[in-house]
Subunit: 205 residues, 4 copies
């Protein structure tokens, strides 16, 4: 296998990339000059040096000397709120909305349905530790998982795992509001969404 | 223009049908026997006789001698709740979920953005009359529009138009809950949905 | 079942239509006035009277007193060429290109792979009769099936069935040219198409 | 801009990749260990060393000491046939079909419609030189461009440019066969394809 084929194989493992597009990536690289390739590979190799998991929220980010990311080290963020997401990209998408001013915890993965509380993939132990460390300042934990079977399962397991510390410290546990997402029509909404939209209806003044 | 072409033209005006599929409909009909065609056209011609707008909710349905549909004439339905939808299909989709036991009103159309309160397309006058007629029994009006610009506009106008009667009779006006619809992921959610999902978050015990 | 439901069921059997769209068709009809509905059903009922299978090509069309369609009765069409298609819509699509000036025969269906020469669905007997009737004037038969497994199978069976009459009368049997269809790129072409495009390459002056 | 953002920007320029998927690539890399990243970047940097343009066909490939790729140096390939493609991936896709045993020339790009014979992007000069160098052994040149406006334009220009050498040496110039590509139906074929399929029809025995 030559380097075109080896690189095609590596790119084929990138998320959402099949062998045909992987091959086009290799040809794309073949058309770059040496300086561009060097810049590209330098950035890749610097990545694990410049970026590391934040000690507190566990997301990948540029961290400071205390090993904290910009959000976790920002004294203007509300330390009483902890929003638990599955992935780094979820956190980024929420940040983009500029609606949330609390802190985060990145679980890494949802908890698979097959095992009750796999700690291999989802960082449930780390979450428990983080909350125990800050049990005096946290007032609310928002579990923000995808609204599908695996997300619901993860929410259930987390609620159970966190119960000792949340009960003891009187920490509110909440989940994202469910109902009609923006831009949808009743005609095409599923039964579960209509159900939630009706139960969670809101009075208007 | 022969009858194949004329029928193609008529079918082309059916919702979601282009000329190619319209033509295939005509060939489909050409393959039916006379009895099937007769049954089909009889049903079409009987439609406006057997089905009429319910006097109360204004949806198309089989109505009884009092000109009421099965829902409006059902004494087990909660007469204190009135759910306002834009279209008959919205009502049908909600009924299929078996979550709602109140009554309905079908507006016919949403209120277009260009006119403030067009009564041509949306039956706002009829809605006002219906509520005034039953102002003693109605306790809550749920305005259930699509979660888009036109739906929001319709909700605003309706709220305003109904204010005299709702204020006077202490009728609650509510809208569908907004947030994450079922089966969605945070990574792909828009800012408005995330915003609603966070604001409408719910404590879990 | 009321007439809304019955009509929904009938429309659900139209080609490419599911129950949801079928229901929207019924509501669309409910919004038409009586005159429009009457015009629509009249056209449907007149269809089998005004349109019938042409005695020669067997397509559905307005036929004259000799029971021939406009193409088969057109003395300017080249009677020495017979193009065999599977369906009426194939014939119509070819006519739209204004490239072919011969005559047609509509087989009705392709010959299914499971039976060797099913005469139930495909009108092979009628094709054989038509050719025998005109064996002195036909010089070429073009078998124009879809370029898939069932189309190839149909072509093979037809060739075999027609051999006695074509051999005897020295009639050429041909199939559509295969190769690159317009608007395609080599990168995305399948092996079979590339193979045909290479074998059928053409010298340019 | 930190290295996550810089790498996202670079990946966004990869063919077919938007900013969201580019970001997911970066997180994917963040989950790889140091050895994998090192292997990946080594392969990228070795690419321009191990792979270079073949001196004869100009495709990117592992070349030997004579600077020829495996195809151009294979004495079993038919040296009398030269197939001209636009891109490396076209050549690869044809090779996968195992139908062609001649040699290739990679033009690099099609000739844009705006300039008559841009030699900047398309290697027309190199093609002319290659043919002149081998004018005694080449018997046929197959110009294999996409079947769209730009492809047809490229074919026309190439034909014109090559005329002096092809006329003088009696070299046949051909193009890929056009017609129905595999797996298509007449009902959905465009006029140009039907036209080609009819003109290029083939007699069957």
């Amino acid at each position: 296998m030559n380097s075109i084929e080896k690189l095609t194989e590596i790119f084929s493992k990138f998320p959402g990339i099949g062998p045909r597009q992987a091959r086009r990536f290799v040809y794309y690289l073949l058309h770059q000059n040496d300086a561009s390739l060097r810049n590209f590979t330098d950035l890749i190799l610097r990545l694990p040096k410049e970026v590391s998991r934040c000690l507190s929220c566990l997301r990948f980010a540029k961290t400071n000397t205390k090993n904290l990311c910009a959000i976790c080290d920002d004294s203007n963020r509300d330390r009483s709120m902890l929003l638990v997401v599955a992935k780094d990209v979820d956190l980024e998408n929420i940040e983009k909305t500029h609606t949330y001013n609390g802190r985060y915890f990145v679980l890494g993965n949802m908890i698979p349905l097959t095992e009750k509380a796999s700690t291999d993939k989802a960082r449930t132990k780390e979450l428990q530790n983080e909350i125990r460390d800050r049990e005096n300042e946290i007032k609310e934990i928002i579990i923000a998982m995808a609204t599908n079977v695996e997300g619901d399962h993860t929410t259930d397991i987390l609620k159970e795992l966190l119960e000792p510390v949340t009960k003891k410290n009187n920490i509110t546990v909440s989940v994202l509001g469910r109902g009609m997402s923006t831009g949808t029509e009743l005609e095409y909404s599923d039964a579960d969404t209509i159900n939630n939209a009706l139960r969670n209806r809101k009075g208007v003044v």
